[in-house]
């Protein structure tokens, strides 16, 4: 880390089980952040939760990154919510 101050945001999103949280993590992790030098992202799974940590160089980037992440995780969570139960049947 350089000596410029970083703004950090940590978001914790609970899922029904660790498997779903891991799927969400894998899906979102595919796309790199648009400004990789200015935005550092870490995704992990803790129990049933997806934990996302961001460190950004400006407050504006913190807002944009957080907003983008929440829009995406909402879509993935709704998809898992809609199809998740059905996907486990028949196996």
């Amino acid at each position: 880390m350089t000596d410029t101050p970083w703004h950090t945001v940590t978001i914790r999103v609970p899922f029904a089980n660790p498997k779903h949280a891991t799927i969400a993590m894998q899906v979102i992790d595919v796309d790199p952040e648009l400004q990789r030098e200015a935005v550092k992202r870490t995704l992990t799974v803790d129990g049933n939760d997806l934990v996302a940590s961001f460190a950004t160089s400006t407050v504006r980037l913190a807002r944009l990154t957080t907003n983008g992440f929440l829009e995406n995780v909402d879509l993935v969570a709704r998809t898992i919510g809609e199809f998740g139960e059905n996907s486990e049947r028949d196996f």
Partner: protein, 365 residues
């Protein structure tokens, strides 16, 4: 064309294959299910689409379009699966548009595709949007080896197939023809429902005079941004009347219908010309028109006149397949998948720029 007949690398499948295709590179969100049967036939099991329509005078921006796709993706996909009378478990693969197109909308659809892929443990297949149009056009019309005119809001290309590659013979040097038409529709405040291009076509039918416009073919290519500037300039012309059904032919006035008519006649003539150049170059007699602008019946008519003069014919599809849809992604995706191609999760990104000739067309000889 002479030459030894190469065998198709794609053989009839030993069992039926079913694929789901997801499309969202522009303002249309589509999901479709396709089936490749043992006898080599292809069947469209479902083709569902929802379009993000903006108010008159406005175009669609990436952020709002992505939001529309996030809102409608699950509904459209569930509808497509239900109409196909299959379950997600029946799918062989999940195909999605890798590009080209608008970044945020593409990514929204890719997120759903990846999630479904992991939930149901199905392979992902990233598809080139342009190749999707071509493959669906070929499938629906049965055209053997046509010159393809791909015209939409985002793309304008003349394409011919050779040795496992869709080669671009000519294209727009700046904006797509659909983009030109759509942006002019905004200037004259036409409705975007069902699409600006459709409304320009209807308006053009009422046109009575042809105003002079630049005619800008550049060899095998076309340039359209200058024509857009010119046609927009006519709305500031002192002879222009924005409204009022003045039927006085004697008066020297220009109405929106006249501008729509003039714009269509000019740009379509240019497209017919560059298509004809490609046909002459490779000695083809078939033209296949794909992409949203391909729905335009005047364009089909003009192309038909040219093709007939050369002893050839024009193939076009209806709006179910012309306009962006999910089934074309399923078709092109399933063809790749059957030739052994799939996209690993880590590589299932999207890209705004994805050239048609970057795709290895493994399923054709």
């Amino acid at each position: 064309m002479p030459g030894r007949r190469r065998e198709s690398p794609l053989k009839n499948p030993s069992r039926a294959y079913i694929a789901l295709g997801l499309e969202g590179s522009a303002n249309k969100l589509g999901a479709g299910v396709i089936k490749h049967a043992v006898d080599g036939s292809t069947e469209v099991l479902s083709n569902v689409r929802h379009t993000y329509i903006t108010p008159p005078g406005e175009g669609f921006l990436p952020r709002d379009t992505a939001q529309h796709h996030r809102e409608w993706a699950l509904t459209v996909i569930k509808d497509a699966v239900a109409k196909a009378k299959i379950t997600m478990h029946d799918l062989d693969c999940i195909c999605y548009t890798k590009g080209p197109g608008m970044g945020a909308p593409l990514q929204s659809v890719a997120l759903v595709a990846r999630t479904l892929s992991l939930l149901y443990e199905k392979p992902l297949v990233g598809v080139n949007h342009c190749v999707g149009h071509i493959e669906m056009g070929r499938q629906v019309t049965g055209a053997q080896n046509p010159v393809v005119l791909y015209v939409s809001g985002g793309n304008t290309q003349v394409i011919a197939y050779s040795r496992q590659c869709y080669r671009i013979f000519g294209e727009t040097l700046d904006i797509a023809v659909g983009n030109c038409l759509d942006r002019f529709a905004r200037v004259i405040n036409l409705s975007n429902d069902p699409s600006p291009g459709y409304n320009i076509e209807q308006e053009a039918k009422k046109g009575k005079r042809l105003v002079p416009l630049p005619y800008t073919t550049k060899g095998m290519d076309v340039s359209l941004s200058g024509i857009l500037t010119s046609i927009e300039a006519y709305t500031s012309d002192r002879r222009y009347r924005a409204q009022g059904e003045l039927d006085e032919v004697s008066e020297d006035i220009i109405r929106p219908a006249d501008l729509c008519f003039s714009l269509q006649e000019t740009v379509f003539s240019m497209l017919v010309e560059i298509t004809e150049r490609a046909m002459a170059h490779i000695g083809s007699r078939e033209v296949l028109i794909v992409g949203g602008v391909g729905c335009n019946e005047r364009l089909q008519e003009m192309m038909g006149i040219m093709a007939q003069e050369r002893g050839g014919s024009v193939f076009a599809t209806d709006e179910r397949f012309c306009i962006d849809n999910g089934i074309m992604i399923a078709q092109a995706g399933l063809l790749s998948y059957r030739m052994g191609y799939q996209t690993p999760l880590a590589k299932s990104t999207c890209t705004q720029r994805f050239r048609t000739d970057e795709v290895h067309v493994a399923w054709r000889p």
